[in-house]
């Protein structure tokens, strides 16, 4: 805009177009959350059941702060997973990598990907076809424990092997 002589008002048109469709999502939206929750099928006493996989074998491994290396306990769990997946060849899996809340969003996404990938590589080394294994990172977005203490953080630094039957590609 430019100014005219003193005491003359300039008219500067403002393009104040009414705002678009941006309001089409109301404030009361209640979409579904994301992440892997929901009931797991089967009986824990049936060794072929996903519930057995989750509870008896163990569907998750834990990591130290900022690390993605698998310790002996993690490898023991993953050996069990590999054995189960060999027997139950109908199942594919998505390995979810997670981080605790200490760290930026971007770094934690990358860190969760490292963790998921470490599990994937280990399962492949135990004979599971890489075609059956997908990875995803949720970073720090999906904590299972919500306190801001190491007791919670240690459970959130995890990679979870989620069974998905009939997953392709």
């Amino acid at each position: 805009m430019t100014y005219l002589a003193k005491s003359i008002l300039l008219v500067a048109g403002l393009a104040l177009a009414a705002c678009t469709d941006a309001g089409r999502f109301g404030p009361d939206d209640a979409g579904a959350g994301t992440g892997s929750s929901g009931a797991i099928a089967g009986s824990a006493s049936d060794p072929q059941s996903p519930l057995y996989f989750q509870q008896a074998i163990g569907d998750r491994v834990l990591f130290a702060v900022d690390r993605h290396t698998l310790d002996d306990e993690a490898k023991r769990v993953l050996d069990g997973q590999a054995s189960w997946l060999t027997t139950n060849a109908d199942y594919n899996v998505v390995i979810e990598g997670h981080a605790d809340e200490q760290g930026t969003r971007e770094y934690n996404l990358a860190l969760g990907a490292r963790r998921a990938s470490a599990v994937r590589e280990y399962l492949v080394s135990r004979g599971i076809s890489s075609n059956r294994l997908k990875t995803v990172s949720y970073g720090k977005e999906r904590p299972i424990e919500i306190c801001s203490e190491e007791s919670c953080y240690s459970k959130n630094r995890r990679a979870v092997t989620v069974l998905a039957s009939g997953l392709t590609g």
Binding site: Y3, S7, I8, T20, T34, G103, L109, T135, I146
Partner: protein, 442 residues
């Protein structure tokens, strides 16, 4: 007491900047930005004069938004109407300077509002009270009733600019992530609002997790990361019609942390394959990708310099997370962060002189700024958890996410001046994170 200030202007160059008055014998009313201790400039903004019955409420509201904008900077201090001696009843009547001097109002803003149907006109003048003269010329904006807040922000930007000599930042918007639900079941949606938290509108529903929206340089598009497909992918969204499309969707990979190039034609982002995250550049029109880093370490959170010739990013190649600068074409990267602790989410200032960042050190998080060579690091804030700085269009203010500690932890948005002063929460209807500040609107 602050008095009329010198006419000379200096640019923001050194670190450790403060807004401060510079004493001078005469010259126009001015806040000079230099070193020193800031005493906010006292001003008065009486209710604007309604030029029709329909304008009465808006005339009051516009003056209140102007005052909120100016006082919100920490550079101005409003003198309340209970102190007034004079009343402004006509836009064209002469100002009784003595009455405003008597209450120590150094600047006076007068205005008038006309409403006719859906059309609004706002005119205003800025007065240098102690100089006994008008500062600049009267100006008039026209718009519609629904856009009245924008007109108020335009007035405040003009006042700010005339008194500080810098561009304002009030007629701007923020795109962010609106958060509801407990920490372990958090729902996130993209939302957009005025810089001051008014006029919140939602851009997505909360069916899919969304993260870190980033405005295009012209404010018309937004890049963000969504788990809509089940995997993190970068999407581009048109703000006007809320149309969106996925930008990058190679199977077996994750893409995230996108930002526009200064010309708006390219996107720099992180791509993860096989557990390793590197930085890539994509031309939006063709979708063609160029890999910029090639390392087994994590490279993420890239941000262009305003000239578009360099990119600052975060990497843990040294063993801890540090900040690096490389040419926009890739190649040798220079580490710039030198302190202890972990650094992340670097963002180049629109002025080009500073890089804002997140720092994690000794169990605390900070928002800080450093020169682009890594020198003169200054931490502006400290708390349990904060991250994700974004710059005001004029490079004076940083908005960021702060999250409170514990099981009931909530995210909200704060602003802080680059001097580290004037920390303020931005009011939002729900939890809020990952702000991205638009340029000044046209």
């Amino acid at each position: 007491m602050m008095r009329l200030l010198g006419t000379f202007m200096t640019m923001l160059v050194a670190a450790g900047l403060f807004m401060a008055p510079v004493q001078a014998q005469d010259g126009p009313l001015r806040i000079e930005i230099t070193d020193g201790v800031m005493e906010p400039l006292p001003y008065a903004v009486p209710d604007f004069v309604p030029e029709s019955g329909a304008a009465a409420e808006m005339a009051v509201n516009i003056a209140r938004v102007v005052a909120a904008d100016l006082s919100g900077t920490g550079l101005f201090r409003e003198i309340g109407k209970e102190a007034y001696i004079s009343r402004i009843t006509s836009f064209s009547s002469p100002v009784e300077f003595a009455d405003w001097r008597a209450i120590n109002a150094e600047a006076l803003i007068t205005g008038a509002v006309g409403v006719e149907g859906d059309a609004v006109t706002v005119k205003f003048r800025v007065w240098d009270v102690f100089g006994g003269q008008e500062l600049g010329n009267g100006l008039q904006f026209s718009g519609t009733t629904s856009g009245w807040r924008r007109m108020a922000h335009k007035v405040a930007d003009e006042v700010y600019s005339r008194i500080t000599g810098e561009a304002g930042y009030f007629d701007s918007r923020v795109v962010f992530v609106s958060e509801t639900g407990p920490k372990n079941e958090r729902r996130k949606r993209l939302a957009i609002m005025d810089y001051d938290g008014a006029n919140v509108q939602y851009l997505t529903d909360s069916a899919s997790l969304v993260l870190a929206p980033r405005f295009s340089p012209s404010g018309d598009r937004v890049l963000y990361t969504s788990f809509e497909s089940g995997f993190p992918r970068i999407y581009i969204l048109d703000v006007a019609n809320v149309g969106r499309r996925v930008l990058q969707s190679r199977d077996g990979t994750m893409s995230f942390a996108p930002r526009f190039s200064p010309d708006g034609q390219q996107v720099v982002f992180s791509l993860e394959t096989g557990g390793n995250t590197d930085i890539y550049l994509m031309e939006i029109s063709s979708g063609s990708e160029t890999r910029l880093t090639r390392a087994p370490s994590i490279e993420t959170a890239p941000s262009f310099s305003p000239e578009g010739d360099r990119i600052v990013f975060e990497s843990d190649r040294s063993g801890s997370r540090q900040l690096y600068v490389m040419p926009a074409t890739g190649g040798d990267a220079q580490r710039i962060s030198q302190g202890s602790g972990n650094y992340g989410t670097p963002v180049w200032s629109p002025r080009g002189d500073l890089i804002a960042f997140t720092k994690q050190s000794k169990g605390r998080f900070h928002i800080g700024v450093m020169k682009t060579d890594g020198s003169a690091e200054r931490l502006l804030t400290a708390s349990f958890l904060e991250e994700g700085p974004t710059w005001s269009p004029n490079g004076r203010v940083i908005m960021f996410t702060r999250e409170t500690q514990g099981a009931q932890g909530q995210s909200s948005l704060y602003t802080v001046d680059i001097t580290g002063r004037n920390l303020r929460q931005v009011r939002t209807p729900n939890g809020a994170s990952d702000p991205s500040w638009s340029p000044l609107q046209q």
